[in-house]
C-alpha cells in the first residue's frame, strides 16, 4: 500500500527528499561545521580542480595561439618576411613586457617578504568563485605544500583573505570582500578597533567603531591581530566615507581595499604562527 502510494507520487517524493536533503545540509552547516560536509566539499573540489587548472593553462596557451593567428592573417604576401619579423619582434616585446610586469609583481612580493620577515609561500590564482554571491579564489597550492585552513593570504599591497578549503594540490581562499568574511581591524591613526567585513558589491566596511571615535575619510585601516587568524599590521584599506546613523550604538565606514582583488594573479600565504611575530614587531613603532 505504502510503496504503491510512493510509486504513484514518485515525482513529488523525489523532489521532497532532495529538497529536504539540501535543507538539512544547509542546517547542519549553520549549526555545526560538520566534517562530512567538509569531506564532500573537498571531494568535489579535488575532482574538479585539475580540470580547472588544465582549462586555465589551455586558455592561456590558446590565447597566445589566437593572437599569433590574428597577427599572421594580416600579413601581406609582398612583405611576408618583414611582417613575420615584425610579428616575432612584437611577440618578443610582449613576452619581455609580460616578464617585466611579472618581475615587478614578484619584486613587490619579495620586498614585502623581506620587510615583514615572515615565512611565505607564493601561489598563482587559477580560478574564481563559481557564483556572483561570494568572493573566493582558487590557488595552485594545497596541503602537499603545507597549506591548511585559516592561513592568512596577502599581496604586496595588503590583505587578501584566508584559506578556507584545502585539497592536496589546490586551496580556496575567501577574500576579505566576501559577504561572510570578517577580520579584526584598527584605524592606524587613532588605534580604534573594529571589524572589517565584506559586502555584496565587492566593497569593504569597518563596523562596530565607537560612536565618539575619531574616524575620517583617508584614514588607513590595518589588521588588529585580534581573532587569531590575521597577524597585526597588515594593510586592509582606506576609509572612503563614514556613516553615523542616529540612534545607532556604533558608527561604521566604507573602505577602499588596498589590494585590487579583481586582478589578482599571484598571492603569498603566511605559513606558521611563530613567523607572524614579524608583523607585530614591525608595527610596534607605530603611533
Amino acid at each position: 500500500m505504502f510503496w504503491r502510494l510512493v510509486a504513484r507520487h514518485r515525482r513529488g517524493v523525489v523532489l521532497s527528499i532532495v529538497l529536504l536533503g539540501a535543507f538539512l545540509l544547509l542546517t547542519v552547516q549553520v549549526r555545526h561545521d560538520r566534517a562530512v560536509v567538509s569531506f564532500v566539499r573537498q571531494a568535489i573540489l579535488f575532482t574538479v580542480a585539475p580540470f580547472i587548472k588544465l582549462t586555465a593553462m589551455t586558455a592561456g596557451g590558446a590565447g597566445a595561439v589566437w593572437r599569433d593567428y590574428v597577427d599572421l592573417r594580416k600579413v601581406r604576401q609582398d612583405n611576408l618576411r618583414l611582417q613575420r619579423e615584425a610579428a616575432f619582434l612584437q611577440q618578443r616585446i610582449d613576452q619581455l613586457e609580460e616578464q617585466a610586469l611579472e618581475t615587478r609583481r614578484l619584486q613587490g612580493l619579495l620586498a614585502m617578504r623581506e620587510t615583514w620577515r615572515a615565512d611565505y609561500l607564493a601561489a598563482r590564482v587559477v580560478g574564481k568563485d563559481a557564483t556572483n554571491w561570494f568572493k573566493t579564489i582558487l590557488i595552485d597550492r594545497g596541503s602537499r605544500s603545507g597549506l591548511r585552513r585559516n592561513l592568512p593570504v596577502v599581496a604586496p599591497d595588503g590583505l587578501v583573505g584566508r584559506v578556507v578549503e584545502v585539497t592536496p594540490s589546490t586551496a580556496k581562499v575567501q577574500l576579505i570582500t566576501d559577504p561572510v568574511s570578517a577580520a579584526g581591524a584598527l584605524m592606524q591613526r587613532t588605534r580604534v578597533t573594529g571589524i572589517v567585513s565584506g559586502h555584496l558589491d565587492a566593497g569593504l566596511r569597518i563596523r562596530y567603531l565607537p560612536l565618539l571615535a575619531d574616524v575620517a575619510a583617508g584614514d588607513e585601516v590595518v589588521t588588529s591581530g585580534m581573532g587569531g587568524v590575521f597577524p597585526k599590521g597588515i594593510p586592509v584599506g582606506r576609509v572612503i566615507s563614514v556613516e553615523r546613523k542616529s540612534g545607532a550604538l556604533f558608527q561604521e565606514a566604507a573602505l577602499q581595499p588596498k589590494v585590487d582583488l579583481g586582478r589578482l594573479e599571484e598571492v603569498l600565504i603566511l605559513m606558521g604562527t611563530e613567523q607572524r611575530e614579524g608583523f607585530e614587531s614591525r608595527n610596534r613603532g607605530l603611533p
Binding site: 515525482r11 539540501a22 545540509l25 552547516q29 566539499r41 568535489i44 557564483t131 556572483n132 578556507v164
Partner: protein, 159 residues
C-alpha cells in the same frame, strides 16, 4: 549520464577559469543555470531534480557559499523545467530569452531567500544588484548559445 558529467566538468572549468575575463562590472553569466536549463528539458522531472542537485552541489563546492544552497535551488528549478518542458517548448527567440531570464532571476531570488533564512547578512538592494545583472547576462549568453545551429538542433530534438 556520461554526457551529464562531461557537461558538468566542462561547465565547472569554464565557470571558474574562463569567465573572469568576460565579467561585466564583476558579474559573470551562470553556466550552471544554462546547463541545468538545457539538460532538464530532455529528462524526467525526477532525473532533472537529481541532476540539478548534483550541479548545485558542484557549484557550491567551487564557491564560498554553504553546501546545499545552489543544490536546493537547482533541484527545484530542474524539477520545474522538466515538468513544464512540454508546455515551455518553443522555437520563438523572444520567448526563449524570457524563459531563460525568468529562470535565472527565479534561481537568484530563491538563493537570496535561502541565504536570508540561514544567515541574515544579505541586504535586499545589493542582492537585487547581483540577481538582475546575472539573470540578464545569463539569459543573453543562453539565448546566443541557442542561436548556434548545433545547440539549436540538439535543443529542438530534446523538446
Amino acid at each position: 549520464m556520461k554526457r551529464f558529467f562531461v557537461g558538468l566538468l566542462a561547465c565547472a572549468s569554464a565557470q571558474a577559469a574562463l569567465l573572469g575575463s568576460v565579467s561585466v562590472g564583476g558579474v559573470r553569466p551562470d553556466l550552471f543555470i544554462l546547463l541545468l536549463f538545457f539538460l532538464s528539458s530532455r529528462v524526467s522531472p525526477e532525473a532533472a531534480t537529481l541532476q540539478g542537485f548534483v550541479l548545485g552541489l558542484c557549484q557550491d563546492a567551487l564557491s564560498g557559499g554553504p553546501l546545499g544552497l545552489r543544490g536546493f535551488t537547482f533541484a527545484f528549478f530542474g524539477f520545474l523545467t522538466a515538468w513544464l518542458s512540454h508546455d515551455l517548448a518553443t522555437e520563438r527567440p523572444v520567448t526563449q530569452f524570457w524563459l531563460l531570464l525568468t529562470g535565472a532571476a527565479g534561481a537568484g531570488v530563491l538563493t537570496f531567500v535561502l541565504l536570508t533564512f540561514f544567515f541574515e547578512v544579505f541586504p535586499l538592494l545589493p542582492a537585487l544588484a547581483v540577481i538582475g545583472p546575472e539573470a540578464v547576462y545569463t539569459a543573453v549568453v543562453g539565448f546566443l548559445l541557442l542561436r548556434l545551429p548545433r545547440v539549436r538542433a540538439t535543443f529542438a530534438r530534446q523538446t
